[in-house]
C-alpha cells in the first residue's frame, strides 16, 4: 500500500516536472516497432543538471522512434568502461548500454563524453566527445541519440534535425521552427493573415513560404540566420506552393498570373520564371525528385485531384495515382523509390505511400483529418498534420505504419508541418 502511495507521489512529481519544462509540444506515442532493441541509458556523470537534461533527451528520442525499449538501470550508473559489469546488464536483458559524463567548461561550453557498448559481445560500438555552447544541452542529447540510433539500426538518426510548422491561434499565424521533438521553438514570422506551405532549402539555411500579409498569396524566402527575407513571387492572383530543387538553385512555385494554377520554375531571387505545366486545369504542390529530374504534383486535369509526374524541363505529364478517392500533396521519399501523399477516401484523409515500381498504395494511418505529409531525411518517419482534442496537431508515423506519435501544441492549431534536412 505504502509502495503504491509512494509511486503515486513520484508519478505526480514527474508530472509536475514535465509540465513546467519548456515543452511547446506534449507527445503521445502509439504502437511499437516489430523488434525493439533493448537499450540501457546509464545516468551520465559530471554536472548533474546537464546530465539530467541529456539523459532525458536521449531516452525520449529513442523511445519516440518506437525502435527501442529502454531497460531499467536499477540505480546503476557506470561512467567508464572499467565500471561496467556486463553480466548485470545481460541479466537485465539489455543488448546495448550507453554511458558517459558531461561537464561545464570554463569557456561556458559543455562537453559530453559518451560510449555505446555492446552488452552481449562486451565490446565498444562507438565513442564520441560532443562539445557545444552552454545552452545547447538538448542538442548534445540529440547528437548522442542520433549516434545510438545509427549504430544500432544502421540508419542515420534524425533527432538533430528540425521541423517547421504554422501555429494558428485566432487571427494570429506564427511560422515556427523547432527541434524534431518540438522543443526549442523559434518564431520565424508572425502575421495576422494566413501563412502556409513552409519549405526548407536543402542546406536548411532558408525557409520559403506563402504569406497573405499583403492581401493575397505571395511566396517569400527568409534566411533563418539573418532573418532577412524577400518576395520570390508576387504576381497577380495567387503565388504559392514553393518547393526547392535538390541543388537549391531554383524553386518550383505555382502562379495564377496566366489564368489557371500552373507550375513554374523560378530563381531564388525571383527572376526567370518559366512555365512547366501547360494544362488549363489546376496544377499545384510540386515536389522535386531527389535527382532533380522530375516533379510530382497534384492536378485535377483528369476530373478529380490526383498525383502526376512531369519532367522538370517540361513535357508529358503522367498520372500515377488511380482508383477511388482523391490524392494530394505528394512528396518523394529520400531514396526516390516511393512517395508519400494525403489520400481522401470515404470522407476521411489518410497518409499513404506508393511505390513507383509496383504502383502499390499503402495506407499508413487509420484515417481522420490527416494532411500534408513529409519524410524525415532518413525516410523512416513521416511528419503530418492531424487533429486531436479538437485542435490541429502534428503527428508522425513510421514509414512501415507501425509507430505513431501525436504532438500537442500548448495552444492554437498546429498546421502545415514539414521536416527539415540534415544539417
Amino acid at each position: 500500500m505504502l509502495m503504491r502511495v509512494l509511486k503515486g507521489v513520484v508519478g505526480l512529481l514527474l508530472l509536475v516536472q514535465a509540465s513546467t519544462a519548456v515543452a511547446a509540444l506534449s507527445i503521445e506515442i502509439i504502437g511499437a516497432g516489430e523488434h525493439q532493441i533493448p537499450v540501457a541509458i546509464a545516468p551520465f556523470g559530471g554536472d548533474a543538471r546537464l546530465a539530467q537534461t541529456i539523459n532525458e533527451v536521449v531516452a525520449g528520442d529513442l523511445q519516440r522512434s518506437g525502435l527501442f525499449r529502454l531497460v531499467d538501470t536499477a540505480g546503476k550508473s557506470p561512467h567508464e568502461i572499467a565500471e561496467v559489469s556486463y553480466p548485470d546488464w545481460q541479466a537485465r536483458g539489455a543488448e546495448a548500454l550507453a554511458i558517459g559524463t558531461v561537464t561545464a567548461q570554463a569557456n561556458s561550453r559543455i562537453e559530453a563524453k559518451f560510449r555505446l557498448l555492446d552488452v552481449v559481445k562486451q565490446t565498444e560500438l562507438a565513442g564520441q566527445a560532443v562539445s557545444a555552447s552552454g545552452d545547447q544541452a538538448r542538442a548534445v542529447g540529440h547528437r548522442i541519440a542520433d549516434l545510438i540510433y545509427e549504430k544500432l539500426t544502421g540508419d542515420k538518426g534524425v533527432f538533430s534535425t528540425r521541423i517547421a510548422y504554422v501555429n494558428r491561434q485566432g487571427q494570429k499565424y506564427r511560422l515556427i521552427v523547432a527541434d524534431s521533438d518540438g522543443y526549442n521553438e523559434h518564431v520565424v514570422l508572425e502575421r495576422n493573415q494566413p501563412i502556409m506551405s513552409p519549405a526548407w532549402s536543402p542546406d536548411g539555411s532558408h525557409l520559403a513560404y506563402v504569406s497573405f500579409e499583403t492581401g493575397h498569396a505571395v511566396v517569400y524566402m527568409q534566411s533563418l540566420y539573418t532573418k532577412q527575407r524577400m518576395a520570390v513571387a508576387d504576381f497577380r492572383g495567387s503565388n504559392s506552393a514553393p518547393a526547392w530543387s535538390p541543388d537549391g538553385k531554383q524553386l518550383a512555385v505555382v502562379l495564377t498570373r496566366d489564368g489557371s494554377s500552373q507550375i513554374y520554375l523560378i530563381n531564388p531571387d525571383g527572376s526567370g520564371a518559366r512555365r512547366v505545366t501547360l494544362s488549363g486545369t489546376i496544377n499545384t504542390e510540386p515536389n522535386f525528385s531527389p535527382d532533380g529530374k522530375f516533379l510530382l504534383f497534384t492536378s485535377d486535369r483528369g476530373g478529380s485531384p490526383q498525383i502526376y509526374r512531369i519532367p522538370v524541363e517540361g513535357g508529358q505529364a503522367q498520372r500515377i495515382t488511380f482508383g477511388a478517392g482523391n490524392n494530394f500533396s505528394p512528396r518523394h521519399s529520400p531514396d526516390g523509390k516511393s512517395f508519400v501523399f494525403a489520400h481522401l477516401g470515404n470522407g476521411r484523409f489518410y497518409i499513404a505511400t506508393q511505390d513507383f515500381q509496383t504502383g502499390q498504395m499503402s495506407l499508413l494511418t487509420e484515417g481522420g483529418w490527416e494532411k500534408k505529409p513529409s519524410f524525415a531525411p532518413n525516410g523512416r518517419i513521416i511528419l503530418f498534420a492531424s487533429e486531436g482534442r479538437g485542435r490541429g496537431i502534428l503527428a508522425t508515423v513510421s514509414s512501415d505504419g507501425r509507430v505513431k506519435q501525436h504532438m500537442y501544441t500548448q495552444s492554437g492549431d498546429a498546421r502545415e508541418p514539414v521536416w527539415g534536412p540534415n544539417l
Binding site: 494566413p194 502556409m196 506551405s197 506563402v210 497573405f212 492581401g215 493575397h216 498569396a217 497577380r236 492572383g237 495567387s238 504559392s240 506552393a241 505555382v254 495564377t256 489564368g259 489557371s260 494554377s261 489546376i282 496544377n283 499545384t284 504542390e285 497534384t298 485535377d300 478529380s304 485531384p305 482523391n326 494530394f328 500533396s329 494525403a342 481522401l344 470522407g347 483529418w369 494532411k371 500534408k372 498546421r415 502545415e416
Partner: protein, 176 residues
C-alpha cells in the same frame, strides 16, 4: 436630365432583376434587359427618383436585393457559378459598368476537403470565374481584383456539410 432618365431605367432594370425569383435555369436578366424592364413591377417608379441623387444602390438593400448579396456558393470541387447565383453576379456586373469609379475584390474560399494548396488553387479559380462573368457583364478588369484564401479563412468551422457549404464561396467585397 438625360442622366436621370438613364438612371431610372437602370433602377427599373435592377428592381426587375430582383423581382425575378431565380429559377433552376433562370434566363440571365442582363442579356434580356428590355424584357425585364417591360415586366418591371408598377411600384418601382414612384419611389425610385427620390433616392437617385444621393443613394448608392449598394447601400440600398431594400431596392437592390441582388446587390445586397455579396457571396455566391458552389458544390464540392466546382468553380462554376450556379444558375441560381448568376443574377447576383450579373447585377454586380451591371453596377460596376455603371459606376467605373467603384472597385471590387473577389475572395475565393473553399471547404477543407482538399489540401491547403489545392484549395488555394480552387478558390482562385472560383474568384477568377466570377471575375470573367463580371467582365462579360461590362465591368472593366481594372475594377476587379481576384484572390483566394483557399481553406484558410472558413466562415464556419464545423466538419460537416452545413459548414462546408458555407465555406465554398466567392465573396464580392467593395472598398468603402
Amino acid at each position: 436630365m438625360k442622366k436621370l432618365v438613364i438612371s431610372v431605367v437602370l433602377v427599373n432594370l435592377l428592381v426587375a432583376c430582383a423581382s425575378e425569383k431565380p429559377k433552376g435555369t433562370a434566363a440571365a436578366p442582363i442579356s434580356t434587359g428590355s424584357k425585364s424592364v417591360a415586366t418591371a413591377p408598377q411600384s418601382a417608379p414612384s419611389t425610385a427618383p427620390a433616392q437617385l441623387t444621393q443613394d448608392d444602390p449598394l447601400k440600398n438593400p431594400e431596392k437592390f436585393p441582388l446587390l445586397a448579396k455579396r457571396s455566391v456558393y458552389y458544390p464540392l470541387d466546382s468553380s462554376v457559378v450556379q444558375d441560381a447565383d448568376k443574377p447576383i453576379v450579373e447585377a454586380h456586373a451591371k453596377y460596376l459598368s455603371e459606376r467605373p469609379d467603384r472597385k471590387t475584390r473577389l475572395e475565393g474560399n473553399c471547404d477543407e476537403r482538399g489540401s491547403n494548396e489545392y484549395n488555394l488553387a480552387l478558390g482562385q479559380r472560383r474568384a477568377d470565374g466570377v471575375m470573367k462573368m463580371l467582365e462579360l457583364g461590362g465591368a472593366k478588369a481594372s475594377q476587379i481584383e481576384s484572390v483566394s484564401y483557399g481553406e484558410e479563412k472558413p466562415k464556419s468551422s464545423g466538419h460537416d456539410e452545413a459548414a462546408w457549404a458555407q465555406n465554398r464561396r466567392t465573396d464580392l467585397i467593395y472598398a468603402r
